[in-house]
């Protein structure tokens, strides 16, 4: 059998047009990883390390149809598991723990995947809308095949941790991969809102009504930051509720510990290292630190103190959804 042409390479950027259903052509930028694992907490951290290395990793650009064609020569990949989350709730810690397993590739927050899942084509006419639905499934399958095969040319088990906003497309992903077990990571809504506002993630979307419409379906202008975050989080939780089924488990931040991590791995049929230290170590460092040098410190007490009345009010609309989701996906 001939070696896969893409072995050792992954797309690190896909320059989609703002309306990819209309302008389907897009430049795909590839980077050479060789057999290097995606060890950093986020995919982009790994790419940055390689780009900034000495010498920098080789890069190449192709068209998106070439990417589809090359990926089409690889066997279709059924991921071992998906991790959806509402942001700031321990999902990176989960991904880091799964990365300790041998023969497993964990893709953590692929931005091309997010873009593919976020863009809708309802306004482009029925023909292009239907065409985009087919195409984005093809693109997702292509990326999964590339991610799973890049290291050895043989498919490794693939776990995909999506970006938080991709939870809005969870039903769609579940319809394509109904048998793939899913983890839904959640946290006390008030704490999520505090963390989200501090990180500036959602408030950074809010000033751009067009982007907000694309992501959430509403512009958000005129709302306070707290209300905006609360409405967004409620939508995330509702999307998860719409998609949750018997193949899904909900994990709350407050329940994350080494034992739960092993249960998560077992649910995904992934074997973690037997040594307790391997998983316990994951809990000692800040999960988002690519250098793994920053010690983990629980921020729950501080976050609880930072909950203002406006945040509590915004979180109130999320509470019933959060509670129901937890009960529907209970362990």
């Amino acid at each position: 059998m001939r070696e896969a042409l893409t072995r050792g390479w992954l797309p690190f950027e896909i320059a989609f047009d703002p309306k990819p259903a209309i302008i389907t052509d897009a430049a795909v930028r590839w980077i050479e990883l060789g057999e290097a694992p995606l060890a950093e907490p986020f995919l982009d951290d790994t790419f940055s390390r390689l780009k900034e290395g000495t010498p920098p990793a080789r890069v190449l650009e192709t068209g998106i149809d070439a990417m589809i064609r090359l990926a089409g020569r690889l066997p279709r990949v059924e991921p071992a598991g998906f991790v959806f989350h509402v942001s700031r709730c321990g999902s990176t810690l989960i991904a880091n723990a799964i990365k300790t397993a041998a023969g497993v590739t964990v893709v953590s927050e692929s931005h091309p995947l997010t873009r593919i899942l976020t863009v809708k084509a309802d306004a482009c006419g029925p023909y292009l809308a239907a065409r985009w639905e087919r195409r984005r499934r093809t693109l997702v399958e292509a990326l999964f095949a590339l991610y799973a095969n890049y290291r050895t040319g043989e498919a490794e088990r693939l776990v995909v941790k999506f970006t938080s906003v991709s939870i809005l497309a969870m039903s769609l992903v579940r319809s394509w991969y109904p048998d793939v077990p899913c983890i839904i990571s959640v946290r006390d809504p008030a704490e999520v809102i505090v963390a989200g506002m501090k990180a500036g993630v959602w408030p950074s979307v809010k000033p751009h009504p067009e982007l907000s419409c694309e992501v959430f379906g509403w512009p958000g202008d005129g709302m306070s930051d707290e209300e905006y975050c609360g409405r967004g989080l409620a939508q995330f939780l509702q999307a998860a509720l719409d998609a949750v089924d018997e193949r899904c488990k909900v994990v709350d931040y407050e329940d994350l510990n080494p034992a739960r991590m092993r249960e998560i791995a077992s649910f995904l049929r992934i074997e973690l290292p037997e040594s307790p230290a391997a998983i316990e170590d994951i809990f000692t460092v800040y999960s988002k630190d690519p250098t793994r040098s920053r010690q983990f410190q629980s921020d729950r007490p501080r976050k609880q103190k930072e909950i203002t009345p406006a945040i509590r009010e915004a979180a109130r609309r999320c509470l019933p959804l959060y509670t129901e989701l937890r009960s529907r996906g209970a362990w």
Binding site: R2, I23, G63, A66, Y127
Partner: protein, 284 residues
């Protein structure tokens, strides 16, 4: 006893097959029934009962070509000279022409896989347009000025060679400069019967680009055609579905466009060598 290709190479409707495997459209037969030639000529030899030979000549390493794919569903892959047996499929890339007129059962064709010389020639033509090369060579200037001139020239050339997308740009250029299929169809007019077929004469799949916020463009045969963004769905439809009956095209889009707009659009494509409208059964 040898069998002539023209007797056994029956055109198949293999849209699904080609789309699944290559993202390409299906075989189109055209012209004299004794000849076949295709914009995307493809031969599906699934029904062949006897062994045939296909001699494939390549100028460069065949593996470098994404377009040549000999699907040997049985037997081992061989490209320089291959034998087609029942169950095999031979895919000829878009833009390849084959016209077997003899009674021979041997199929021979050549594919020009571009070499480094072609790439260099393209790069040279590309760089010639660069602003830097429009300036006078400082033949009589001081040594320092001449040295700076050469340094900058080297920088421009190296920057072009270092661009990760250079091969992609080269591929795109070749696709966009490829000549259209010869087509004897008359220019499209609005009184063409709706039973006629729209066929693509562009030698490559259409690549829509954004020309401005509300405009898309396509480039074929070295020419650029611009359309309002609403026409993108028409272009994608034809690129995906052609050959397709005019009536089907009208039915798909008449709620959104009136007949006159659709006919104007087809007239532009027809005039630009992108598509043609032909009578059914005319062999295209």
């Amino acid at each position: 006893m040898p069998t002539a290709f023209r007797d056994i190479l029956v055109p198949h409707t293999i849209d699904g097959f080609l789309l699944d495997y290559f993202g390409r459209r299906s075989l189109h037969l055209r012209g004299d029934p004794a000849r076949f030639a295709g914009v995307e000529a493809a031969v599906l030899a699934r029904d062949i009962e006897r062994t045939l030979e296909a001699r494939v000549t390549l100028e460069e390493a065949p593996d470098a070509s994404h377009d040549l794919l000999l699907l040997q569903l049985s037997g081992s892959a061989a490209f320089e000279a291959a034998t087609l047996v029942a169950g095999d499929a031979l895919y000829l890339p878009r833009g390849s022409w084959q016209a077997p007129e003899s009674e021979s059962s041997q199929l021979a064709f050549a594919i020009h896989n571009p070499t480094g010389r072609d790439l260099l020639q393209w790069l040279f033509d590309h760089l010639k347009r660069h602003e830097y090369f429009q300036t006078d060579v400082p033949r009589f200037a001081a040594h320092g000025v001449q040295a700076d001139y050469l340094t900058e020239m080297r920088r421009v050339v190296v920057r072009a060679c270092r661009a990760p997308g250079m091969i992609e740009l080269f591929n795109r250029y070749r696709n966009e400069a490829a000549a259209p299929r010869p087509c004897s169809a008359s220019p499209f007019s609005g009184d063409t019967p709706a039973s006629h077929l729209i066929v693509m004469t562009a030698p490559r799949r259409l690549r829509l680009r954004r020309a401005a916020p509300d405009t898309v463009s396509i480039k074929s045969n070295g020419r650029v055609l611009r359309f309002p963004i609403e026409a993108a769905q028409l272009l994608h439809f034809l690129d995906d579905r052609a050959p397709v009956a005019l009536s089907e095209f009208y039915a798909a889009f008449e709620p959104e466009f009136d007949r006159e707009e659709l006919n104007d659009f087809l007239a532009v494509l027809s005039g630009g060598g992108i598509a043609a409208v032909v009578p059914p059964g005319s062999g295209y």
